[in-house]
Amino acid sequence: MFLPISRREWLTRTGCGFGALALGGLTHAANPLTAKKPPLPAKAKRIIFLFMQGGVSHVDSYDYKPRLEKDDGKQMPFDDARNIANTGTKGTNERVMKPLWKFAQHGKSGRWASDLFPETNAHVDKLCFVHSLHTEGVAHGPATLFLHCGSTNFVRPSFGSWVVYGLGSENENLPGFVSIAPSSGNGGPRNYGNAFLPAIYQGTPLGKAGGAITDATIRNLKSSLSQADQLSRFDLLKDLHAEQLKANPGDREFEAVANSYELGGRLQSNAPDVLDLSKETAATLKLYGVNEKPTDTFGRQCLMARRLCEAGTRFVQVTYGDSSANPAWDQHSDLPKHGVHAKATDKPVAGLLADLAQRGLLEDTIVWWGMEFGRTPYAQKNGTGRDHNPGGFTSWVAGGGFKPGHAHGATDDFGAAAVTDKVHLHDLHATMLHQLGLDHEKLTYKYAGRDFRLTDVSGNVIREIRS
């Protein structure tokens, strides 16, 4: 293993490299990643999406339903989404199951939350809860795609790709959209894919779900060659390009390729620094639970997300999940296992909120804690777990101009279905785009003769959750 090339070495090569060589080369405006001024007044500049893959139970975490305590164990009729999809039958008999965690009011805002996420509870006054979410897809495959791309099945660009398409990146030397530890399952690469948008808006994966965090890096950032060989070949390539451009004056495509090496070189020199957590103070590491057993992995990932955002990445997703067909939070049986996942994520999430706030970043960063669907308030097959519930669930958003310490909408008495001020996932997508200064109806891309958008033909901006 060779030492990475020093940043200085790269800078001497890429600072005024090909761009200067290619007389009349690409201007900055021609770089599609250049930051664009949002068309609407923006409250937020970037998003960190914390994806709780598999589906956190809202009735065990943030959606307090005393009826579940009262009617625990009773058989009652419910409209179960899976039963309806499979057989069309409504009102099947199910056994009500009370939450396994104790609820209490927290913070000045008095938001209800269970003790599943005790550390995050200290930050409820920063959070804006949406209790009336509903979405498409009863199974993970369709619902996960819907969460990321606004469609259960068809090939559509991911949310992050749309955002970078709309706003560009604040740092041209870093990818604009990064997905940390993405899952191979339930849509895999399509969940951070650009689909028909230009390739430049493709999400960059960093490691993979279940993989060691220390392996998480951007592909092809390191070479097996010695530093000397790398540099001499890079210099030779630069000279070859100069000659090729002499023979093909004004060839914009050649210039673009030559420029891509300059960008690549800068990426290679910048990215390792951004991903290097060793520069963080002990206090910060501790805040995220880094080097503590259950929280080390997710803590490092959340910290990387902060570092990327700070450096100008527009959209960072951190997945807590795995590549199986029944990912992490998917407790069809053994609901107490939610506790294990909560332990692994609670402190890092709380740490991220605290850290962003103390750095003044939370103001213009949306932190979105979300999942593909919630879970049923009754036991699946009368067993020890809960099935999927796309009809009503809770996510929270923080920062980025969302009302802090606020709760919006409600499910019914049991938490089975959203009933009051319902918010479709399309609506939440639309609202987040709005906070970024993008009109979800105008952020379109023409493909196959039609204008496409993240929210398809739906979506309303939810005014009540904006401060």
Binding site: A81, E243, V257, Q268, D421
Partner: protein, 931 residues
């Protein structure tokens, strides 16, 4: 009273006839109870204002009486006097699929007001415009649009310059250039031309020797000879077949769980072969849509036709969709998309939810086509539905052998079953058995999570671990047991339930197994003795993932008598796992049974295999589709009899058969010389592939939102010639590359035609990912000459993380949707989930990082450098020349010699130095383009 009167007056002023029957009381009711609600909750999305703001939803307006009378996409919203049949009331009540208003249900008293209002006749004084109107082009207007006009041979134009054209194609090009006062570009030099031709026809660069021979060849037919040689090479089909695979969204796995489509490669090989044998293109299309319904001359042809239908079956479906009615329509939609975009250049699927907003394609046409594909079965439904691999017909001799073999297997399986049931009755199976002695991973009832009260017992004396439990035949529907296993590895397992049997037990205990593919409930009759070893009943074989869900729930719901459970056992069916994890079973199977099982295993591993192909089948019952309003399966309207696109039908529309899906009729309509789209669309595709942009640049969109052809007469000329020459792709390609137009140099952009729409020069063409990779392999001397067949391990379970390391030609690397070869991903390979007629061409930093740091270019450069040093070349200067000729097909300039020499001077190791030269050449811009 006064208020009522004024209202009455108002109403007479504002509307005359429509509302004449409305009484003042009714109107008062409307004004006080209904109108405010409509204003507050409805008109934001359902009004003229909403329509002008492009926010009108469902085509429905509620700001006037005419609006709700005409209704929206679902029909009239209110039927006066009939609240039960009024969609508006249904929506307010949140019944059916439309729930209005969407943000939450209105209070019950408000809904009751609406019911009262409708029952009383729905008085409404408001006048206004109705909702629905024609937005796109009508079919009649559409028939005048260029793409739907019959293909007719145009007159060959006369050009001023009589010498330039070598064939008629050139005359169409030249006449347009002349009209603009432009001249064609001079010819490309011979080396450049040959390199271009090689890339275009076979996707590989010519060797320096081939270039030298061509440059030296003074025969006027030298170029033509090369064209014919290349058309005859097997690599032609590999290059052109790959183009078609882009259109066909060819892939060998599904995104969902990375399922491998094990038989898809046969389709790829079929496509490559079709281009190589120059199969008539009309036949080629027909086979892909309806091969299984066509007549076959012999078994071989029948096999080919079935393999071809994988075209319909390769969609990237979300087979996990729980509503199978939705899944069925999604599959239909996808097939329709591939057929319409790929073959006809039409965006038909826009009409799934509404009449096409731009093109003359009404929703009725969509469902007429959908009706055909609804009669096609592409999957077998299950929690995760399964695509169809159908048996291929084989030659009679093999068929006889297969039949014999299958009979043998069936007989053995029956014998084993008998032997097992005999063994089960033996007293050896009685008594207590310790958990550690159980074969497989056993979870005792004592470890199960219990809901409700379960009693322990050991009274029968036969059990595993510490006794068994029963539900005391009480609290039916309230009790469950959950047996959860921590499995050591992902794989197939057999799941068994041990229970205690007796006559008083439950006859239909629901036992549900939760695995990677979802859940399945098996009723267990606990009155009967357990059939396996006297202890177990097999619940079947399932896939489980390590860390995924692997548990069994025993419920007492709907049962009578005692429900018992003793243990659940997971037995790995994977050979290696079985060996590793299982202690030797104490209960030894009788020798005879073991012998039979061994025999079966042996037979299964050595016997002949029946070949399968990815395909579709006709459904048992043929039916017509109903229009799905707003595309929803739950909202069906009038029947749309099966048929084809009206606007593209010249003459009689084909009649649809009663006993078949209609695919064959559709195929014949598409692959017909009379179809205005098919021949034009393909001729244009071929032009795009050879010239770098189409005559119609939106190659997949010949609708009104597409681009008009730059040379409509030329397109028709080519289409007519294509048909006249028996739909021969090779002849079409030959005509194009032998034109003078093809031989031009790239030159520089003419200000009068910056985009080169007139083809007065050659386009600078970006090379495809495959061409770049194959060129590197061919230059490094490591390109494999292996061709065809499955190119990944036979037992590959999923495509997650798969890395193809072979030096096959790129077309043979498995196209896995979750793990495309990194080279493909970096260099704009076609998205294998959608029709791609024109690939993206991106220039991004990850490509640079790939070329600089990825092991592949580093390795190929090393090999190429090593080979170069083995050649007897006089000096470094000669080596530089050779490296340039290998990679860029030309000699270096003086400037280039200088910079390479300068680099070499600073290098210590020869092999590393030359590896560096090759890596830099591979990485350079020029290597990625054909001039």
């Amino acid at each position: 009273m006064l208020r009522l009167a004024s209202c009455f007056v108002l109403f007479f002023v504002s509307c005359e006839v429509v509302c004449a029957a409305d009484s003042p009381q009714q109107l008062e009711f409307f004004e006080s109870k209904i109108r405010p609600v409509l204003v507050e909750h409805c008109v934001r999305c359902h009004s003229d204002a909403a329509e002008s703001a492009k926010k009108l939803k469902g085509g429905l307006k509620l700001d006037s009486k005419a609006g709700w009378q005409a209704g929206g996409d679902s029909g009239p919203a209110v039927l006066p006097g009939k609240p039960g049949e009024s969609l508006l009331l249904k929506s307010l009540k949140y019944q059916g699929d439309s729930h209005m208003p969407p943000e939450g249900q209105l209070p019950a008293v408000v809904i009751a007001d609406f019911e009262t209002w409708i029952k009383a006749g729905a008085a409404d004084p408001r006048i206004g415009t109705a909702g629905k109107k024609q937005i796109g082009m009508s079919v009649a207007e559409g028939k005048k649009f260029w793409a739907y006009l019959p293909v007719k041979a145009p007159a060959i134009p006369a050009t001023a310059d009589k010498a330039w054209a070598t064939n008629d194609l050139d005359r169409f090009i030249l006449v347009k250039l002349e009209a603009k006062g432009l001249k064609p570009s001079p010819d490309a030099d011979k080396a450049t031309l040959l390199r271009r031709l090689y890339f275009d026809l076979i996707g590989l660069p010519p060797t320096p020797e081939e270039v030298d021979a061509f440059v030296a060849d003074k025969d006027p037919k030298a170029f033509e000879t090369r064209v014919d040689q290349l058309l005859a090479r097997a690599e032609f089909g590999e290059r052109w077949g790959r183009y078609w695979l882009d259109v066909a969204r060819y892939a060998e796995s599904l995104t969902l769980r990375g399922f491998i489509l094990k038989e898809a490669w046969r389709y790829r090989d079929y496509v490559i072969d079709s281009f190589n044998v120059d199969r008539r293109f009309d036949e080629f299309l027909k086979e892909q849509i309806a091969g299984d319904l066509m007549k076959a001359k012999n078994t071989e042809e029948r096999r080919r036709q079935i393999i071809a239908t994988a075209f319909l079956a390769m969609g990237n479906h979300n087979l996990e969709e729980q509503d199978k009615k939705v899944l069925r329509m999604d599959i239909v939609d996808e097939m329709l998309d591939v057929v319409s975009k790929g073959l006809l250049g039409q965006t038909v699927t826009c009409a799934r939810c509404h009449d096409h907003k731009f093109d003359p394609i009404p929703t009725k046409d969509y469902y007429a086509l959908a009706g055909i594909f609804r009669n096609v079965q592409a999957t077998d439904d299950a929690n995760v539905s399964v695509w169809k691999d159908v048996p291929l017909p084989v030659e009679p001799a093999l068929e006889a052998e297969l039949k014999k073999y299958e009979t043998q297997i069936a007989a053995l399986v029956a014998k084993i079953a008998t032997a097992k049931s005999q063994a089960a009755g033996k007293p050896g199976a009685k008594g207590a058995l310790a958990i550690v002695d159980v074969k497989g991973i056993a979870i005792d009832d004592s470890q199960a999570k219990k809901t409700g009260e379960w009693r322990n017992s050991s009274s029968t004396g036969t059990y595993i671990g510490a006794g068994y439990v029963h539900d005391d035949a009480a609290g039916k529907g309230e009790k469950t047991l959950t047996f959860t296993a921590e499995l050591p590895a992902t794989g197939q397992y057999e799941v068994r339930l041990a229970y205690s049997a007796s006559a008083s037990r439950a006859a239909n205990t629901p036992v549900t197994v939760f695995g990677a593919d979802g859940e399945k409930t098996i009723p267990v009759d606990m009155r009967k003795d357990p059939p396996v070893e006297g202890r177990y009943v097999s619940l079947g074989e399932y896939k489980f993932e390590k860390g995924g869900q692997s548990f069994v729930i025993v419920s007492n719901e709907g049962t009578k008598g005692h429900v018992t459970a003793d243990a659940v056992v997971f037995i790995s069916l994977d050979k290696n796992e079985a060996k590793k994890d299982e202690p030797k079973p104490k209960v030894v199977e009788p020798d005879a049974l073991k012998a039979l099982q061994d025999e079966l295993k042996k037979l299964q591993s050595t016997g002949p295999k029946r070949p399968l192909a990815l395909s579709v089948v006709e459904r048992a019952k043929m039916e017509e589709a109903k229009i799905h309003i707003r595309g929803l399966v739950s909202n069906q309207g009038a029947v749309a009899p099966r048929g084809v696109l009206q606007v593209a039908t010249i003459g009689e529309a084909p009649a649809m058969p009663k006993n078949q899906s209609g695919r064959l009729e559709l195929a014949e309509w598409i692959a017909s010389a009379d179809n205005p789209l098919t021949s034009r669309v393909f001729a244009n595709r071929a032009w795009h592939w050879l010239f770098g942009s189409g005559l119609v640049r939106t190659v997949d969109n010949f609708g009104t939102t597409g681009e008009a052809p730059s040379h409509p007469e030329l397109l028709d000329h080519l289409a007519v010639q294509f048909i006249a020459e028996g739909w021969s792709v090779k002849k079409l390609v030959r005509t194009m590359v032998l034109s003078h137009t093809y031989r031009q140099s790239t030159g520089s952009a003419n200000p009068a035609d910056v985009e080169n729409r007139l083809f007065g020069r050659a386009n600078h063409k970006r090379l495809d990912a495959e061409v770049i990779r194959d060129s590197m392999l061919s230059i490094s001397g490591s390109l494999s000459d292996a061709r065809g067949g499955a190119t990944y391990p036979v037992n590959l379970g999923s495509d997650y993380g798969y890395k193809a390391n072979d030096n096959w030609r790129s077309v043979y690397l498995p196209v896995f949707r979750n793990s495309l070869p990194e080279f493909f991903e970096a260099f704009d390979f076609a998205d294998p989930s959608v029709v791609v007629g024109a690939r993206n061409t991106s220039t991004v930093a990850p490509q640079a990082l790939f070329m600089l740091n990825n092991p592949f270019p580093i390795e190929q450069s090393k090999l190429a450098g090593g080979n170069l040093l083995k050649l007897s070349l006089a000096n470094d200067d000669a080596r530089i020349t050779h490296a340039y000729r290998l990679t860029l097909g030309r000699s270096p300039t003086d400037g280039e010699r200088v910079v390479v020499q300068k680099y070499l001077k600073n290098q210590n190791s020869q092999p590393e130095a030359w590896a560096g030269v090759f890596q830099s050449l591979f990485a350079s811009a020029e290597f990625r383009f054909a001039k």
